[in-house]
């Protein structure tokens, strides 16, 4: 049974690797880091596949790993930058990006972590709200509340959409 689940996990990873890469890239914003994130995520998943309870959980479980790996890499980089003198030179560059309000994608990238996670998973990866709740280990209502709030903040018109 476990072998069967393992094979399904491998198949799922192979079939959806592009999605994981895009999600990783949207956080770490460069190819090398995104590749590292996906590779690490695959390694972790296959090492700890015994934590996986059943086939239905593969999707949310693996997304969670990709997300955690992306955020962990970002945090590690930030720490590195803070101890580095070049940090001071980078400030103006970061602020420039803030000015492009026109571009919603860039705007999403500027949002705080929780909001970014929810928006990306909901609208880019098109996951269900209950899946997002599982991935982020949040209450379903919390996810809904945050999503509405962030969408308002983004001044995106909320149309009647199934599941939102």
């Amino acid at each position: 049974m476990k072998q069967d689940l393992y094979n399904k996990l491998v198949t799922y990873i192979i079939e959806n690797q592009d999605k994981f890469y895009r999600l990783a890239f949207s956080y770490v914003k460069n190819q090398d880091d995104a590749l590292d994130v996906v590779q690490n995520a695959v390694c972790k998943a296959l090492t700890h596949y015994k934590d996986l309870k059943n086939e239905e959980a593969i999707k949310t479980w693996f997304y969670k790993i990709v997300l955690n790996e992306s955020l962990a890499l970002l945090k590690a980089k930030k720490r590195l930058v803070l101890t580095d003198e070049s940090y001071y030179h980078e400030i103006p560059y970061e602020e420039k990006q803030f000015e492009i309000y026109d571009d919603l994608y860039t705007q999403i990238e500027q949002m705080e972590e929780d909001a970014q996670n929810i928006i990306k998973l909901r609208f880019f990866e098109e996951l269900e709200l209950n899946e997002i709740a599982q991935i982020l280990r949040m209450n379903l209502n919390t996810v809904k509340t945050k999503l509405y709030r962030e969408l308002r903040a983004l001044k995106v018109a909320i149309e009647k959409e199934a599941g939102v």
């Binding site: 393992y6 094979n7 491998v10 198949t11 990873i13 192979i14 690797q17 592009d18 890469y21 895009r22 890239f25 949207s26 190819q31 590749l35 996906v38 590779q39 695959v42 390694c43 296959l46 090492t47 596949y49 571009d103 919603l104 994608y105 999403i108 990306k120 609208f123 880019f124 995106v156 018109a157 149309e159 959409e161």
Partner: protein, 283 residues
């Protein structure tokens, strides 16, 4: 939601580097090698081996250490037959060892003596594997205890050494068998050795024997072509860039059509999920 659709568009347009699938496959390969330790145990045993196993149970019950020669358990065929020449199971404090050594008997009189050398080689191979595996088990135990493991924890290890064989083909013309050795704790030492025999001609078959001096090029091209076809059909990516090509040790058996079938063990040329791969080379 128009702007959100545009944002998603931008997200979907993130280019996927070619390297991605290579990195993913690399990790899958690495992990599978580590995790899959008991794969070979799943393989079915032959009818003869099952017969032998029943005898063992009786033997084990009557004496603690059981070693006995069992001969003349015919498998199949009229011209040649495979018998389990020697079979033994030993249980020490730490290790279970079970070994089935096959022997080929040719009925045809004029070929007498030819199989003798072969049987000696098979015997040597089986014995060597079992001896070396036992040594590796002892080393493993030593390392385990030296790195802080206790005798008690060690006792929980299920250390098994197994050498057995399967007859792949036995027709009036050809005989192919595979001898396998495996250790329960380390799949890296699993071994499979294939033997093919031309009964009519009374000689061992090599790829060179079958395809002539240009066998390397011929077989390699044939396999690469088949890989390409399989990739197109299934969408699965083979790891043929890490394949070292054909040589005199390339594993093969003769199938019932009389054609050689090249064998790649699990992980050797394709993801483990795809299992072992076989390529029939039509003569």
């Amino acid at each position: 939601m128009k702007r959100m659709a545009e944002a998603k568009q931008k997200y979907d347009n993130i280019p996927i580097p070619e390297e991605l699938s290579k990195r993913v496959m690399l990790e899958i390969k690495k992990a599978e090698k580590k995790h899959n330790k008991r794969g070979l145990f799943m393989k079915k045993i032959t009818a003869a081996a099952a017969t032998v196993a029943i005898l063992f149970i009786v033997g084990i019950n009557s004496s603690k250490t059981f070693a006995q020669e069992i001969s003349n358990i015919p498998i199949i065929g009229s011209i040649a037959r495979i018998v389990t020449f020697r079979s033994y199971e030993t249980k020490t404090e730490d290790t279970d060892i079970s070994v089935d050594i096959p022997s080929i008997e040719l009925i045809s009189e004029e070929l007498n003596g030819l199989e003798k050398g072969v049987n000696e080689e098979i015997y040597a191979f089986c014995k060597q594997y079992a001896d070396e595996a036992l040594l590796r088990a002892e080393q493993y135990k030593k390392a385990f205890l030296e790195t802080g493991g206790t005798e008690e924890e060690w006792a929980k290890h299920d250390i098994k050494i197994k050498v057995w064989y399967e007859v792949k083909t036995l027709t009036d013309e050809y005989l192919s068998l595979v001898i396998m050795g495996n250790e329960s704790w380390n799949s890296a030492n699993n071994q499979a050795k294939y033997y093919s025999f031309d009964i009519k001609e009374g000689k061992w078959l090599t790829l060179k024997e079958i395809f002539g001096d240009n066998y390397i090029q011929f077989v390699e091209e044939n396999i690469r072509y088949q890989i390409k076809q399989k990739e197109e059909e299934t969408g699965m990516e083979f790891w043929d860039e890490q394949w070292n090509g054909v040589d005199e040790n390339t594993k093969f058996y003769i199938n019932s059509n009389g054609n050689p079938v090249i064998i790649f063990e699990k992980y050797e040329i394709a993801p483990g999920a795809a299992g072992s791969q076989e390529f029939e080379i039509v003569k």
